[in-house]
Every structure is written in C-alpha cells, then in structure tokens.
Symmetry: C2
C-alpha cells in the first residue's frame, strides 16, 4: 500500500480524492499497489465529509511522515505551494501537481531537485486538464525534433470567442454568460488577458526545447479588444479568431513565443476547436502534425490527469521519469517586436479618402476584405509579412495620413 | 551504447534507420545512451546503401548476439514475424513492432512472454502511425474507466470517402486516385474491406479492457458498397459517412465491437477528420472525450513512433512498462446481431407505393430524408434504434412489401 497526501481540497483536490476512493480497485490493479489517502491538507474544516478524519492543517505532519511517498499539490497559486513542494521533493517524496503557475515559474528548479533526490515531479494536469499532452510530448515524440507547438490553451476564452463567432454575442455578453455558467471567474483577468494561456505555452516550450521559459518575459495579448466587427471580417476572409499560444524554434537557436488572438483559416486543425475545448498541435519533423483535443479544464478531467500521474509515480519509484529542462537563458526568447507575421487590420478613415491606396502606401500589397454589413468609412485588410516592429512603424505612418487603426490581429498559418 | 537490430528494411524499416542515424545526438540525450544499429535483417541486398555492412540474412545472428538488447520488427505479416519476435522475447530481448497484424493476432501471448522475461514488448506504431495513442491510453487515462473508444483508423478509406464527399467522386475513381497517389495498394482489400481497421480496434479494445479481442470474430464492413447517393443523403441529413472502428463496454461485462461505415453528424468530433488523417476518440468516465488526431500512416510518422518505443525500452531496461492484457474469452464479444443502433436506409420502390407508410409499418416511426437530386422512386430514411437482428427481420418484411433496400448504414452517435 502506498500512502499519499493531498494538499488543497478545492475543486481539483476533492476530485482527486473522489477518484481514488471510487476507483480503488482499478487503480490498485494499474499501480500494482493499493493507494491510500493518508492526509488531506486544507485550512478549512469539512465536517461530515466521509474523509473527515484525514484532514489536517499542519503541513509538517505530511513532511515528517516518511510513510507518505507521493504528495499531490492542488492548492494553486505560488505560495505556499512552491515552499511545500520544494520541501517535499527535498525530503525524497514524489510530487504531482496541477498548478501551472508553479510549474511555469519554478519548473526548472523543482525538476532539478527531483532529479537530485531521484524522485518524480509530474504535472500532466497543468496543461490541457484531462488531455494527455505533457507525457505524449516528452515520450512519444521523443524521436522527433519539435518544430512548433501551438494551441488553444484556455477554455474560457475559447467559449467566449465561440459565442461571438456563432451567435454574434458581444464580448461583454459572452463573458457574462461564461461567468453565469461557471466557466469564468468573477475576476476573469487571468483568462481573458491570456495569463493562463501564457503559463501553459511556457510549460510546453520548456519541455519541447529543454530550457525554462518564464511567462513574465513573454508577449501576452488577451481577447478583450476583439469586437464583432473583427469576427465578421475574419469570417468574410474565411477564418475564425482564436486565442493561440504558440512557440517555434528558430534557426539561430532562439524561440519565437507568444500568446495572442490569431485569425486562423477555416481549414486549420485548430479552427474547429470550439466551446470550452482545448486543442494542442505538436508539429514534429518526422511525425508531422499531431493534434490533441479535449476538455482542457474541469474538476474530473483535471483530477483524472493528477491521479494518472500518481499512478505513474508509484510505478516508477525506482525508475525516474526523464522529464527535465534546464534553467532559462538571457537572449533565448526572440523579442516580440522581431517576430514576423502578416496582420489583419481594421481601420476607420475620413470620408472621401482612398483607403486602399493609403494602406498600400503604408504596408505594400495589402489584401482588402469586404463584409456585408460594413460600417461607413470602415475598411479591413491583411498586410504582407513583416516584423511586428516594422508593422508598428508603418502603422504610424498610416495614422499620420488620417487613418485610425481600430484593431490589428496576427494572421495564423497553423 | 545500446545495440539494436532492425528486422525488415521496407518503408518503415528504412525510416527507422534514417531517424536513428540522423537524430543520433538528440536520441542519445533522450535515451541517456547512444543507440547503435548493429544489424539489419532483410532477404534483399542493398548495394551502395550507407548501412550496407549492417545487413544480414540470418535471423540467428541477431538471436544469438547477447549484445542486441532491443529488436525492431517492421517486416509485417504474421510469419515469420511472430516466430522471430517470440524467440527474441524468450531470449530476454525487448521488442518494438509496428506490425498490427502480429499484435492483433498474438498480443496476449507475446505480452505474457515479455512479462515472464521481464522485458518490454511495445507497439505504439501499430495503431495510428505517428499519433501517440497506445501510451496515452495505457498511462494518462489510467485513472479513468474507458467507456468507449471509436476512431477513423484507416487513412486510405478516409481519403476515398473524403473525395466522395467533397468532390462527388465515385468510389471507383477515388480508389484509383488513392492508388495513383500511393495511398492505396494495388490490392486494396485490406483497406477498403476494413481488415486493417479491425486489427487496430481490436488492439485498442484489448488494451482498454484487458482481454485479447481477436479480429476474426469481429463484424467487419468496408466501404465498397457506399455510393454517391448515400453520401448525398447523409449530407442532406446533416452528416458525413466515415469508416469507424468502435468498442464499448456493456453493463454485463461484454464488449460491443465492430468496424462499419457510419453516418456521423457534422458536429461530431470525428466528422471533420478528413483526407488521410486518422482520429481516435477515447471516452473516459472522468476525463470525458479526448481526441487524438494526426497522420495515421506514412514512412516517417510510423518510424518515429517505433523509435520512440526503442527509446522507452532503453530507459526501462529495469522497470518494465505495464502494458498487458490477458487471453480472450468465449462469450466476451457481443454477437453483432445483438448490437443496438438506428440505421440509415436507402430504398427503391415501384411507382405509386407510399414508401413512408411502408417504412413506418416495417420499422415504426422513421425519419424520411429528402435530397435535392433524388432519383425517381427512391427514398431514404432513418429507423429507430433496434438490434441488428431485429432490423434484418423488419427489413425482410419491408422487402416483401415490394421495397428494395439499396443500402443501409449505421447511424453514429459519436
């Protein structure tokens, strides 16, 4: 029998406990050991809970009990999760977490401690909820050089965009709906500003290319500025707007990484990923494009990914999983202004101006997009490829000519 | 350094050799050991091949060389592949194969030998080519009870159906095109009659539910009888026809498993999997639906999956992977005639007959489907759910009433 401790009895933590209790027999068969929840750490009381006698409030009980070999951290947030996880690893306990903030901020350090102590630090649930992605990427694609990873990594924003696209709901209304359905939190900033997505793409980038990428340095654009006018121009062009986290290896060894809304052609493998679903595309040099698709969040999907990691820890007490990346490096991430893309632009101008001529003067051969219910003195076009910096400069020259840029969105080639 | 032998230098075998040679450094990093191809077994000569000195014709050289710890079997076919693999495992060598025929026919036996000898028998490449599915199913979904697995498992037939759906190409023309593009073989039987797909769904079923399922016993329908009329009725209904391999666990412990064309609603996660792509949906009780999508075949995708397994063998010389299933059992598979579904039916009848009334008399409340360019005295409808046996009986009564059933296709609820 293996004793585990669960730190945090929130949505995911209670799901983990539920799976371990309800799937006792099948888990024992798969892990070749029975799994026993010895402690649940939470500052709150849960009177009447069937696991009531397991609850504790003092972390040191877990830390000092050598019987506990696997610790599940599902508290969320950086502190005290980081301190607890670090101490557990240093004591030779394997740790499983669903905490993307922790992995994105401290992954390299915690993986190094795990390696030194010959224990496992696993975090399948931190990206894509119940969709297996960390393990397939690290193992199954081991024989590939990863060319690119791109994905719809946040279900809340994908739900909002889907409502805007399908039902012509405004961003505000779609956000309210998402909140009323429990998909978005009262303070939706982490989702709608892309902070959740950027943590996830940083974890995937760290894993794919072996060096820690810190979210703080990464260009992160959310979806709050997307309007129904943009959605309808994207449709007229033959595409949809999705919030994408993307990382690509460049020829010089640096990586081009960002989170931003993108206009994807309808034929794209990610264009059809709708509602709260996540989709992650991994492009390997041998295997081509592989896409993983499923519910990226939710109590039971996330909890089941955590429990799968627990089983993996138990099966690998002797053979450590080779999940590892090194510290980050200065100059490893391409500055966003050097990133190359073509841009969708929506602009307004004074009556009488020849907007196409002005746009071409500024950007070169643009492609105009027409939509049925276009506003007056409104135009949209797609620029040729250039660096973001060059785009910004040329955009300024267009604005000097009296044209106001209402929105700009990267064009995607996924 | 770890010595490996490759048995079979065909499409996949030469791809495996290519990856091992060209990715030498990154593979060594991931496996923590350098990988050396010591032998390549093939009855043919390859003069001028850069690996010329590795080629041998005598299997016993591999078998008797204790230096060879991992053997790659990519010969295909049941004999002599089975005999060679069995002997290698018995000698304590780990074996990696892409041979679905072998795994579907002899998986339980070979996995048992591997277990007895404490070595690995891995076959990620046998299903879905470069799409990771075997490993995610056995590991990441370990904390789930698998409710259902269903997939588009054969790229050739999916290409043909896509051409019929998108370009109104006839089956015969689409098959010819597939052959000219190298997607289909001269003798396309294994693909178009569903024999390839049934091996794959049997492997997935064996893995998901722990008992070997032999392809010989499984209802297998191909796509040769699908016509453009069916494709257009499916479109009018709001769906597409796809060749699906499916397995579901029943309440009584049996499994409902088959390969058959199915009409899927356009919103289905598998409806958008087109061309030579494969898509596999795994429905877990906790995780919900997870879909894996990518190129299911091809030299490099398949070879990269084989090489990933080789790396896994090397990393797990001491800790065997817990990939296992037991022998099959009589009565474990639901007889197909007891399988429950609703059916799409296309029928022709003599002028003047009230086809809707006749269909309702035979099947109960049917839903008629109208299409724009319907033939004369032609009708299509969808029946309520019933067993296949009941459908067959009722279909006979309809035919007695002078209605000819031109085609029938299962309706899918994926």
């Amino acid at each position: 029998m293996v004793s585990v401790a669960i730190m945090g009895y929130g949505v995911v933590g209670s799901g983990v406990a539920e799976i371990i209790v309800t799937h006792r027999e099948s888990l024992a068969k798969r892990a070749k050991e029975e799994i026993d929840i010895k402690y649940i750490l939470d500052i709150r009381d849960f009177p009447g809970n069937p696991l009531e006698e397991k609850f504790i409030k003092d972390f040191n009980i877990i830390l000092n009990d050598d019987d506990v070999r696997v610790v599940v951290e599902v508290m969320g947030g950086l502190h005290p999760a980081y301190d607890f996880v670090k101490q557990c690893l240093e004591r030779g306990k394997s740790v499983v977490t669903s905490n993307k903030e922790l992995v994105a901020a401290k992954g390299a350090e915690l993986l190094r401690i795990a390696q030194d102590k010959n224990v496992n630090f696993l975090f399948e649930a931190s990206v894509g909820g119940g969709i297996p992605i960390i393990r397939p990427m690290s193992q199954c694609l081991a024989a590939n050089d990863v060319v690119e990873v791109a994905g719809i990594l946040n279900g809340t924003t994908n739900f909002i965009l889907t409502k805007m696209i399908r039902d012509q709901m405004s961003f505000e209304d779609a956000l309210k709906l998402a909140q009323s359905l429990g998909y978005a939190e009262k303070d939706p900033t982490a989702d709608v500003e892309g902070l959740d997505a950027v943590r996830k793409i940083c974890i995937l980038a760290s894993l794919a290319y072996g060096k820690h990428v810190y979210p703080d340095n990464i260009h992160t654009e959310g979806i709050t500025k997307i309007t129904l006018a943009d959605v309808s121009y994207a449709a007229a062009w033959g595409g949809v707007i999705k919030l994408i986290g993307s990382v690509k290896k460049l020829g010089d060894g640096r990586i081009d990484i960002f989170v931003a809304p993108m206009v994807l052609p309808n034929g794209s493998q990610l264009a059809g990923v709708d509602d709260v679903f996540n989709g992650i595309m991994v492009r390997g040099d041998s295997t081509g494009d592989v896409v993983f698709y499923g519910k990226g969040a939710g109590k039971m999907p996330t909890a089941s990914a955590v429990v799968a990691d627990v089983i993996d820890c138990i099966k690998h007490f002797k053979a450590r999983k080779y999940l590892f990346w090194a510290d980050g490096e200065d100059g490893y991430v391409l500055p966003y202004e050097e990133s190359v893309c073509s841009m969708y632009v929506r602009a307004s101008y004074s009556g009488g101006a020849d907007i196409k001529a002005e746009a071409e003067k500024a950007f070169g051969g643009v492609k105009m997009i027409a939509r049925a219910s276009s506003g007056e003195n409104e135009a949209a076009f797609v620029t040729p490829e250039m660096t973001v910096k060059e785009f910004d400069e040329r955009a300024k020259s267009l604005e000097k000519a009296g044209v106001k840029i209402e929105s700009r969105i990267r064009m995607g080639d996924l």
